[in-house]
Amino acid sequence: MDKVSGSESPSRAAAPLAPEQLYFTGSGAEYFGIWIVNLLLTIVTLGIYSAWAKVRRLQYFYRHTELAGSGFDFHGSPGRILFGRAIALVMLIAYNYSVRLHSPVTIVILIGIAIVMPWLLRNSLRFRLYNTSWRGTRFHFRGTVAGSYRVFLLNGFLTLITLYVMAPFMHQRLKAYQHDNSWFGRTRCSFHARAGQFYAIYLLLLAAVVVFAIVIGFSGIGGALAALSQVQKHGGHADPHAVFRALAILYGALILMGMTVGPVFHAFVTNLIWSNTRLGEHRIECKMSAPGLVWISVSNFVLVVLTLGLFIPWAMVRLAKFQLESVRLLPASDLQEFLAAEPETLGAVGEEAATAFDFDISL
C-alpha cells in the first residue's frame, strides 16, 4: 500500500485501531419525496429522466452511507447513463425478439449478445467503481478484458455443461476477478475466500431446497387427498374449492421458500465474500444476520403489496441500512493515508446493459 511519505505512525502496533462500522443515515420518509418526484418525471418524459433519477437515487444512498465520519459519493453523469440505457434497451429487445422467434437469426443474435456481454459487464464494473468515492478519492476497477471473458463466458459455459456442479467454483472465480481487481485510489483490494467455502454454502442451500421440496410434496399430496375425499362425498366432479386450496398451499409454500431460502443464502454468501475481502492491509468484517434479512425481506414484501408499491422507498432504505450496517472495516493503520490515482474517463454503456439483463453483480 502506498502512503503519504512520513505519515507512518510508530505507535501502530502498540495501540490497535478501533473497528470502523459503516452507517446508513437515510430515512424512508425523506427518500419518498425523491422517489416519487423521480417516478413522476420519468413517466412524464417517457423514461428519459430515468437516467437522472438513477443518479439521484444512487447519490441519496451513497451520501447517506458513512465510514469513519465521512460519506461516500456517486459521480456518474446522467448523459452517459442514458446512452447506456438506450444500448441496453436495444439489446433487450433483440434478446426478447430472438427468444420468441425461432429462426436462424435467433442464434446469430444470441451469440452476438454472448460475445459482447463480458466486455459490457467489465465496463459496468469500471463505470460503477470509478464513479464511487470516499473522502474525495475514487475507486477503480482494473480487471482485464481477457479476464472478463474467462470469468463470464468460459466459466459460465463450464457451469452449464457440468449441470451447475461448478457453480460455486464459478461464483468464487467471479468474486476473485471482481475484488482482486478493485482499487481504492492507489490501494488494491484482495480476495481470500476459497472455492471450498462457497461449496459449503451451496450445499446448505441445496439441503434447504430439498427439505422444502419434501414439505411441498407432502402438502400437495395432502391437498390432493382432500380434493379426492370431496369427490367421494359428493360424487362426480372434484370440488373446485378443494383444488384451489391445494394449489394455494403449493403456491404459498413456493413463495415462502423464495422469501426464506433466498435471503439466508444471500446473507451467508455476502458474509463470506466481504469478510474475505481486504483493502490493502485493512480487513473487512461482514456479519449479516440471516434471520434478520429474512424478516426484512418478508415484511418488505408484505408491506409493498399492501400499499401497492408506495412502501418501496421505505423498503429500500430498510434493506440498505440493514445490509450496510452489518459491515465493519478493521483498519490496520490510519485511514487518512490513502492516495488517489490518476484520473480516467469511462462510458456507462456496460453498466446499463448489465442491469437491464438483471446481471447485477455488485453488493
Binding site: 437515510g26 416519487i36 451520501r63 426478447n96 425461432h102 474525495g136 409493498v304 488517489a340
Partner: protein
C-alpha cells in the same frame, strides 16, 4: 462562519476548515489550508435528505458541510439558488401532487395511450413477425389442444368458399386462411392468430348450425384480423410487463411476473367490441343483418352455460350487452336485410 471538512481530492486526509463569504468570494480557512475562490466557480451539491452537502472546487477538491441550515443561510447571501427538482423533492405539497399525478398518468397511459400506441405499432410491424408467431403458436397447439377436424370435407369447402367470397367493408375479399380443428378442451370456439389466420372449431360449427350465423362469427374474427389485435395484445402485455418489472422488480422478482395475465382480460374486452363493430359493418356490406352475430352469440352462450369452461365467451364482455348493441345496429338498417 461555517464549519466544514476540506478534502484535497488527492488523498483521504481530512482538514477542519471554516467557510465564510466575503463579497463575491468564498473564503476557506483552517489547518494548513487558506484560500479564497470566486463563488461563481464553486459547484454546490443539491440537498438530498440530511446527507452532508459538498461545495466542489474546479481542481477536484471539496468541502463537506454537515450543518445544512447554516449552509442555507450562508448560501442565501450568495447568488446560489437551489434547482427546481431539488425544491420539488422537499415540498410536501409537491410530493402529494406527485403521488396523485403518478396514479392519474399511469391510469391514462394504461387506458388510452398504450392501446393507441400498440394498435399503431401492430400495423407497422413487418408482416413476417405475425407469420412466424402464428406458425409457432399453431405448432405448439396442434396435436395437444387442437385436434384434426371431423367435419366433412365438402362442408369445409363450402364454408371456406363462402368465407372467401365475403366482401370486406374496406373493399376486397379476406386474404386470411381459414383452418378447421376440433378441441374438446376449448369447446365451441373460434380465434384469430397474429397473422390473421382464423381457426374455427367443430364444436362451434355444430352448436351454431346455421351457415349465415357462422359467417357472422367469421365476420367478427375478421375484425380481429383487420385490427391486428393479436399483435396489439402482444405489444401491450410486453409494455405492461416491462413497466411492472421496472416499478416493482427491485423489491421482488416474484411479484414482477404476476400481473400481465390480469391486464390481458381487460384489454381483450375493448378489442371484442371493436371486432363486433367491424363484424357488423362487414355483415351489412354483404347484405346480411348484424343480428346474425347476436343470434350466434346467444347460441354460444347457451352451449357454454352447462360446462365449467367459459370458452369463447370467457374473455368477452357481457354477452347481453353485446347482443343488445348488435340488434341496435341491425334495427338501424333498412328492412330488406333479414
Amino acid at each position: 462562519m461555517l464549519q466544514a471538512k476540506y478534502f484535497d481530492g488527492r488523498s483521504t486526509r481530512v482538514r477542519a476548515v471554516n467557510l465564510s463569504v466575503d463579497g463575491a468570494d468564498l473564503v476557506v480557512a483552517g489547518e494548513d489550508t487558506q484560500f479564497r475562490v470566486p463563488f461563481a466557480a464553486v459547484k454546490v451539491d443539491e440537498r438530498l435528505g440530511r446527507a452532508p452537502r459538498r461545495l466542489r472546487f474546479q481542481d477536484g477538491a471539496f468541502c463537506e458541510v454537515r450543518d445544512l441550515d447554516a449552509l442555507d443561510s450562508l448560501l442565501s447571501s450568495t447568488a446560489h439558488r437551489d434547482g427546481w427538482v431539488d425544491r420539488m423533492q422537499r415540498h410536501l405539497q409537491f410530493v402529494l401532487f406527485s403521488i396523485v399525478a403518478c396514479v392519474a398518468l399511469t391510469f391514462a397511459a394504461y387506458k388510452w395511450a398504450l392501446p393507441w400506441a400498440a394498435a399503431k405499432g401492430a400495423h407497422h410491424l413487418p408482416p413476417g413477425i405475425g407469420k412466424t408467431l402464428s406458425v409457432q403458436t399453431l405448432n405448439v397447439l396442434d396435436g395437444k389442444i387442437l385436434m384434426p377436424s371431423k367435419i366433412a370435407e365438402e362442408r369445409q369447402q363450402s364454408l371456406g368458399a363462402r368465407f372467401h367470397a365475403l366482401q370486406l367493408p374496406e373493399g376486397g375479399t379476406p386474404d386470411s386462411d381459414l383452418l378447421f380443428r376440433s378441441s374438446p378442451q376449448l369447446g365451441a370456439n373460434a380465434f384469430t392468430l397474429p397473422d390473421g389466420t382464423i381457426i374455427v372449431l367443430d364444436e362451434l360449427l355444430t352448436s351454431i348450425g346455421d351457415d349465415s350465423e357462422i359467417m357472422a362469427v367469421f365476420a367478427h374474427e375478421l375484425g380481429h384480423a383487420h385490427g391486428r389485435h393479436g399483435l396489439q395484445l402482444l405489444l401491450q402485455s410486453s409494455a405492461v410487463g416491462a413497466f411492472w418489472t421496472l416499478y416493482i422488480g427491485d423489491i421482488s422478482n416474484l411479484l414482477a411476473a404476476a400481473p400481465a395475465a390480469i391486464v390481458q382480460a381487460r384489454y381483450s374486452q375493448d378489442l371484442e367490441e371493436q371486432a363486433d363493430d367491424y363484424g357488423a359493418a362487414l355483415l351489412i356490406r354483404n347484405g346480411m343483418s348484424p343480428a346474425l352475430l347476436a343470434d350466434a352469440l346467444k347460441k354460444l352462450a347457451a352451449s357454454h352455460s352447462g360446462s365449467s369452461n367459459g370458452g369463447y365467451l370467457s374473455s368477452h364482455p357481457s354477452t347481453d350487452e353485446r347482443m343488445r348493441h348488435l340488434r341496435q345496429l341491425a334495427a338501424a338498417q333498412p328492412p330488406a336485410l333479414h
